[in-house]
């Protein structure tokens, strides 16, 4: 049971972080119908902000959250006003290619400024600390903190979208932009807000992730794929769907743990020889493919 419980706990913790990573993508798509290919790159920049805050200010990496959040919000708003707003005038293909171009630009800017080397948080209050809950459930403190803070951020955004006036305006814009405009809702500003919230939440996720995941300019593409899979599984436009889907995707990365359980606890030894860990992210891509094939609207349907 040790192996199984350890894998489940690990999958859930990582899934909670994936939820925050995917949230931004969903908000932007929900409000504007634009798929942000540069989502992973926003995450990567958030990771760098978190890392540098802790390195240059000498504070614990967890405190990198606030600067990353602010940076992400501003980055999202700047991208909207400086670039995306003009894409809206063009055909849908231009919008996709536009954010793809943004992805390439950000990735190579980061490569130019920070160099190709991997960097990681080497020391901090929680680094290296883990809690042994018994029965094989060993919880690293960094992952636990990241998961808890992710959930808190996720709930905050949900509250923002569903319980505040601004949030209701955002939802109105997402349902019918023209109608919302007639009602006096400034669509342009709502779009910018969507990008701001999207950018802010994913950069916050980055600052949390950097506590246990090393950053380099190329790390974004993996998380873009993870975010896409999560949103596709949960349903584009459904925020609560994103959360549950993220937990499932977190568990998918733990498939090697489940096969080890089958191999060593259940006794199907031959499974132990399969190179599962080498393909742990392949399963995510496979899941994305299967979702597109079998249930493109995701678990919780298309937009509300």
């Amino acid at each position: 049971m040790d192996i199984l419980l350890g894998a489940i706990v690990s999958g859930l913790l990582l899934g909670a972080v994936f939820a925050l990573v995917a949230l931004g993508l969903n908000v932007i798509f929900g409000v504007m119908d634009i798929v942000n290919f540069a989502h992973g790159e926003f995450l990567m920049l958030g990771m760098y902000v978190g890392l540098f805050t802790s390195q240059f200010l000498g504070v614990d990496p967890l405190f990198g959250m606030a600067p990353a959040l602010v940076f992400g919000f501003l980055l999202g708003v700047a991208c909207y006003y400086g670039f995306v707003r003009y894409l809206l005038r063009g055909p849908a293909l231009a919008q996709l290619l536009g954010t793809f171009g943004l992805m390439l630009l950000l990735r190579n800017l980061a490569l130019m400024c920070f160099g190709p080397d991997e960097r990681s948080v080497r020391s901090g209050l929680l680094v290296g600390v883990s809690f042994d809950l018994g029965m094989g459930m060993i919880v690293p403190a960094t992952k636990l903190a990241a998961a808890l803070l992710s959930v808190a951020a996720f709930v905050s955004v949900w509250l923002l979208m569903n319980r505040t006036k601004v949030g209701k305006a955002l939802v109105a814009t997402s349902l019918n932009a023209q109608g919302a405009r007639y009602m006096g809702i400034p669509t342009d500003r709502m779009n910018a807000l969507a990008w701001g919230v999207g950018g802010g939440s994913v950069c916050l996720a980055g600052a949390l992730l950097v506590n246990f995941w090393s950053v380099s300019p190329g790390v974004g593409i993996l998380f873009t794929m993870i975010a896409f899979t999560v949103v596709a599984l949960g349903g584009f436009g459904s925020i609560s769907g994103t959360f549950y889907a993220a937990l499932v995707v977190g568990m998918i990365t733990e498939i090697p743990g489940f096969t080890d359980f089958l191999a060593y606890t259940v006794g199907l030894r031959f499974i132990g020889d399969w190179p599962m860990t080498a393909f742990k992210f392949t399963f995510i891509y496979l899941a994305y493919f299967l979702i597109m094939l079998l249930r493109p609207q995701g678990l919780f349907g298309w937009k509300r």
């Binding site: 192996i3 690990s10 991997e118 990681s120 080497r122 883990s130 690293p140 090393s214 080890d260 860990t277």
Partner: protein
């Protein structure tokens, strides 16, 4: 009107001829050096570079107080005191880039010799390029056995390769069970082994050899993982290793993944009886510097450590100079780069010419005595026939263990060969609780 063009012609001719007159003065031997100066192995790359530069400086300018032939200085005396010049290129751990840079070094920079590349995967492609152009290549630090089995005529390797090192590991484990290890009574409870290796040329060949020699010595590897050295997270790999409850964990990691692996083992509270790394990341100074006390008890295959100075004075002399320059002790990477460069100088001296054919002849005939090397080797002599071609057969590996000395500083003590042991071995591994 007729004087002006003549004057111009004279000036132009002078401009062309003058530099060539200067060039005729002193010969330079250009050595192209390919190292991973950025990327996952950048830690080792910095050491390699510093050591190569030190070796060339000693060869060109001499250094009193160091008892090796090269330290008399004066360049390559048999080629009229020709000075050595290094041209460094960063291959970033990328084999295709390495091959491109090698071509540039050979065709544009017109180097006489190539040295490199640390990463076996890069050495493989660069060796092919050198063989194609007939430029000698000396490999100082790549240990995948296949490199000397390609049938190349322009490739020589000074370092022993992984087959020898893996055999050392099993000889060590056997000695452990027989009570031959200093300070440890016979150990009978190491039965299950598990390995995690990075999956390029080097790591995957280490993985194969661990399996091959394990079977020969009566050990089974319950699990063998391969992972990408650029991985940002190794927690599922570590959990997978721990699932088989191994008595000994064996690793082949480069610099950044070695640190990540140990940190992950620590956060997962792994407690094997023995942890061993096949050199590379496990021996890089950044490993101990970053991880601190976490590394105490970890074993690493190595070829050199400062403690060798207790059995070889020359090692201490060169290490002192190296340390004065870089602030760090020489370990396996730096010492092998130094030795590789030293071998190149010795071969050039014997060749008496900068022509590739002369170098080839000299390299195949040379026999450098162990006393002249900082390494605890019998010497340097390359094979010219058999399974390996161009392989130094007089090299030797060591196994070291990270231990804390009385002042709290962490260093590597020799635990194998048993007769060279410098301290009692810590057994079992203290674990991460």
């Amino acid at each position: 009107m007729t004087r002006r063009p003549l004057l111009r012609l004279a000036l132009v001719l002078a401009m062309i001829l003058l530099p060539t007159l200067c060039l005729a003065a002193e010969k330079t031997i250009k050595i192209g050096v390919l190292f991973p100066l950025s990327g996952p192995a950048a830690g080792a790359g910095a050491e390699l570079r510093a050591a190569a530069e030190l070796a060339v400086e000693i060869a060109n300018n001499g250094l009193p107080g160091v008892d090796i032939a090269m330290a008399k200085g004066g360049g390559v005396k048999s080629i009229g005191g020709a000075k050595l010049q290094l041209i460094f290129k960063d291959h970033e751990g990328n084999p295709t880039l390495g091959a491109d840079l090698a071509k540039k070094l050979i065709l544009d920079d017109k180097v006489n010799i190539v040295m490199g590349c640390y990463n076996s995967s890069v050495t493989k492609t660069v060796a092919a390029v050198c063989d194609q152009y007939g430029i000698p290549m000396v490999n100082d630090s790549s240990t995948s056995p296949s490199l000397t089995r390609q049938g190349y005529k322009w490739f020589w390797r000074t370092t022993p390769h992984d087959e020898q090192f893996t055999q050392d590991l099993y000889a060590f484990l056997k000695g452990l069970s027989e009570g031959k290890v200093k300070g440890v009574p016979p150990v009978k409870d190491i039965a299950t082994l598990a390995s995690a290796c990075e999956k390029t040329e080097w790591g995957s060949s280490v993985s194969e050899q661990l399996n091959k020699f394990g079977a020969k010595n009566g050990y089974t590897l319950a699990k063998q993982l391969l992972y990408a050295d650029k991985s940002a997270d190794l927690s599922s790999e570590v959990r997978s290793l721990m699932a088989v409850k191994p008595d000994a964990m064996l690793f082949a990691c480069y610099s950044s993944d070695a640190i990540l692996m140990l940190n992950t083992l620590k956060s997962q509270k792994a407690a094997p009886k023995l942890i061993w790394g096949q050199n590379a990341g496990f021996e890089d100074p950044t490993f101990a510097n970053t991880l601190g006390d976490t590394v105490v008890g970890v074993l690493t295959r190595t070829v050199f450590m400062p403690k060798v100075a207790t059995v070889k004075k020359v090692a201490g002399q060169v290490n002192d100079v190296y340390k004065a320059r870089t602030g760090k002790d020489m370990v396996g990477a730096a010492s092998r780069a130094f030795t590789g460069m030293q071998a190149i100088v010795a071969i050039l001296e014997m060749a008496g010419s900068d022509e590739p054919a002369a170098f080839q002849k000299a390299a195949n005939a040379i026999d450098i005595p162990g006393a002249d090397l900082v390494m605890p080797w019998e010497g340097i002599k390359f094979t010219t026939e058999g399974e390996d071609i161009g392989q130094n057969v007089k090299g030797m590996g060591l196994i070291g263990q990270y231990q804390k000395d009385a002042s709290g500083k962490i260093g590597i003590e020799i635990v194998y060969p048993f007769n060279l042991a410098t301290a009692d071995m810590i057994y079992p591994f203290p674990g991460f609780k």
